[in-house]
């Protein structure tokens, strides 16, 4: 098996598509396994304290072609339980998935709403969840998907928020935008592009610098590896060594049967790549959600699951094959609840219509990634040529790898924003591999970085629990204090004008 690099979707497991160095080995997009799908279904049914609305949204904000004014219905959620009219509006700028799921996993906003008497609004991103401009034909081809991108999404939020404030007769209510991951990027960019609509942005785990050559391409997988290395050097070495064993089996005639046995698959595997991806996903996403408390974001997992995985590896006999030990660790991710008798590594369905990120990754969200020799994954380089060919084959359009940095900037961000902009929080946990592509240092008095060494992917946005560690309680408190200051400034300025 050749070395691989992977383009990872922020949150969902789905889009791990491995581009092998040999073109012949290019794999189709990995779709979510039945485990994830069934879990997601359960999570989406979780009762959340929001009312659902639909907004007639314009298809294309940036042309005036006859087609542009086509309207689609954009879903958004509202909670006005704590709102005092004229009070602030906290808007979550939805990312690449069903908005209910983000609402269910952004308890922080619900936790702080009473203190601020805030209205809560969660807006679904176009082309995700129920907000499909062309119904079930939305993902059909570039002719429909062409309208799926971040600038259109930001304009959607601007139009919807303005209309909402008008309908509520609360036009002087200050708006603060919140977002995690890609949603955090959108929140940060929204504050930069629409300062007249949002007075501030809380961007949690938002890798706005993961583009072009701003952040070293190996940083993501180096960070994953560091999480495991910090938990246990042996654990890191076992995982690092397991790929070669899998590779060796793939060359073997009986390899597929052997791998199916090791991975306790429900059905015999069609490709060794499935096991490869299955492991890869487990390690990457566990690093992302290496939360300090038991949680169920991607999967039900214990507190600090990376440490748990490494305890499993370290607890097994040293002589045992590395691949078996890696499998045992990965099983924690897929089967912490111990309800699975066997694993379905292949044949997942896209039950939630979440293909969209792959389109975005192939057009604007071009984030080159490599695995260095120091990572626990096999070393791999990045070939833009292959990436481009793959995307052109899939969608028939040309990627624009420099567009995001042209439209939103990123290079020398400290210098650019030192004297421009204000009221932004970039929160990050260094356990999260995406943190390396985010803003990790204060830029100015009001564009600040809140960094925790032990935090993971937008952990600050999760509901508070009684087991939260002090550093997390402190981080959230800092966020509240800063938001409070933005609002005080706003109301003071309002009186003066």
């Amino acid at each position: 098996m050749a070395s691989s690099s992977s383009s990872i979707s922020f949150i969902f497991l789905l889009l791990l598509f491995t581009i092998s160095v040999a073109a012949a080995q290019i794999k189709p997009i990995y779709l979510p396994g039945t485990y994830q799908s069934s879990l997601l279904k359960k999570q989406e049914k979780t009762k959340i304290p929001f009312k659902t609305h639909y907004f007639p949204q314009i298809l294309d904000h940036f042309t005036f072609l006859p087609k542009s004014s086509k309207v689609f219905y954009q879903k958004y959620l509202i909670n006005d339980k704590y709102w005092h009219k004229g009070g602030p509006i906290f808007v979550y700028t939805g990312n690449e998935g069903n908005i209910d799921w983000f609402a269910a996993n952004t308890g922080f906003m619900l936790d702080i709403a009473p203190k601020f008497h805030a209205l809560l609004v969660f807006i679904e991103h176009r082309f995700y969840g129920d907000s499909m401009p062309f119904g079930n034909k939305s993902y059909k081809s570039a002719k429909t998907l062409g309208y799926l991108n971040s600038q259109q999404a930001l304009a959607d939020y601007a139009v919807l928020i303005r209309s909402l404030k008008q309908n509520l007769s609360s036009e002087s209510s200050p708006v603060v935008v919140f977002g995690g991951s890609y949603g955090g990027m959108l929140a940060a960019w929204f504050r930069l592009k629409y300062p007249h609509i949002a007075i501030g942005a809380v961007a949690s785990s938002a890798p706005i610098l993961q583009f072009d050559k701003i952040t070293p391409w190996s940083s993501f997988y180096d960070a994953v590896s560091q999480d495991f290395k910090e938990a246990s050097l042996n654990c890191y070495k076992v995982i690092k060594g397991s790929w070669a064993e899998l590779d060796a089996l793939s060359a073997h005639e009986e390899g597929l049967t052997e791998v199916s046995k090791i991975f306790r698959t429900c059905k015999g595997l069609h490709s060794v790549y499935s096991a490869w991806d299955w492991l890869w996903e487990a390690f990457v996403y566990t690093a992302m959600v290496n939360y300090p408390t038991k949680a169920n974001f991607m999967m039900p997992l214990p507190a600090y699951p990376v440490e748990e995985m490494c305890e499993i590896i370290d607890g097994l006999p040293k002589g045992a094959p590395k691949l078996s030990r890696a499998f045992a660790a990965a099983s924690l991710y897929y089967n912490y609840t111990q309800t699975e008798k066997c694993f379905n590594l292949e044949g997942g369905t896209d039950a939630h219509g979440l293909h969209g990120w792959d389109w975005q990754a192939c057009t604007e969200m071009v984030m080159p990634m490599t695995c260095s020799n120091e990572s626990m994954f096999p070393p791999s380089s990045y070939s833009y040529k292959e990436f481009r060919e793959d995307c052109k084959k899939k969608y028939g359009v040309e990627p624009r790898p420099h567009w995001i940095t042209t439209e939103f900037g990123g290079y020398k961000i400290e210098q650019v924003l030192k004297r421009f902009g204000s009221n932004m929080i970039f929160s990050n946990g260094m356990q999260d591999p995406w943190s390396r592509g985010s803003v990790l240092k204060n830029i100015s008095a009001s564009i600040v970085a809140l960094v925790t060494q032990k935090g993971a992917h937008h952990v600050d946005f999760r509901s508070e629990t009684k087991n939260d560690p002090d550093w997390l309680i402190m981080q959230r408190k800092q966020e509240v204090v800063i938001i409070q200051k933005w609002l005080e400034d706003y109301y003071r300025d309002l009186k003066q004008n």
Copy 2:
């Protein structure tokens, strides 16, 4: 003749389309008369010290439809005579016309280039001049014109500037954007939306607040009237009274012949409206270009042409018909050189393909205007319904009257930009009727308003002359000092990072 309100193009005379209160009286778009066309031709041939280039520009930055990546050739001009590599790049963000013409009329940039060792770049706006995405079919219908708008234009500038800096191997050169009128709006918006590309913006006579209900709708024509009133109360009264005389003639059987005679037309008029517009234009544009020195921007005119017009009116016998006196004053505008024996009020051709503004005015650039009872024009109201119907009839698309304020803001701009953004100059002269829709007060330490009582439409951007009054010399000096500070800050920050 019913009362009228007019939507005025910033610079060119062409798009004065009168929307009469009675729908039946809606006039077609007024196209430039042969006088203007021949003058413009002469001006365009003026030798300007720039080299012409063409940049392969993407048609649609904000969708990834198969059509979006179509390329067109965008014209831009370069002068590198004064540039020291690594030094600043001064970019003019072109507005609604041939870029050569703006380059010829923005001598200020050429005047200050040696001091700053600056590279000068003038970029033509898409769908104007030679930058036609669909060649001579560019204005054919909404299917092609749909790509003509300010957001696409700003993205063009971003892409072109980034590419240019790369090609010059001068990526750390600071860029300052300049623009006058609509070009000034673009410069201001460019600094707000692309702070990572431009470190500052000089926006001269940029009415970014002339939208929605931000600026009183009557302010434009009130300002024109004030210019004339300040020159002479009698002059103002004569012009104010002339419309009724024209109106009376239009009701008369022999009226058309009589009007043709009064207006010394080369051919008999087909419509009294032509005389109406001819007068209207002369007064409005003379107010705009009420420069303190002899100049040839719209037309060759003497210093302070409003005063000259009023001297003509005041010099004629009090008993003479007001219409004749108004005609005599307007003749200064059309025939200061005294070379015209008769006037062509009808049948102008669109020799320069400048229709574009009318499309923009019908889609995004919706600037409602009325004439108050105090103005020297007949009182008129604004009917969005009629405007919309007219635009739909012409182009088949729906105007988006709130889009500019959603995309770029404008409401409570002092509050929004007090704590956001930096390095912007809004320069205005109060003689210019567009000044009322611009920023006339300092917003923060680095977002400043430079206002002169006697200045007209972007007079500060004209080449210096030996007759420039002190206030104009001072205004330009202030601009230079401020730009100097932006650059010093930039280079200091660059060293520190």
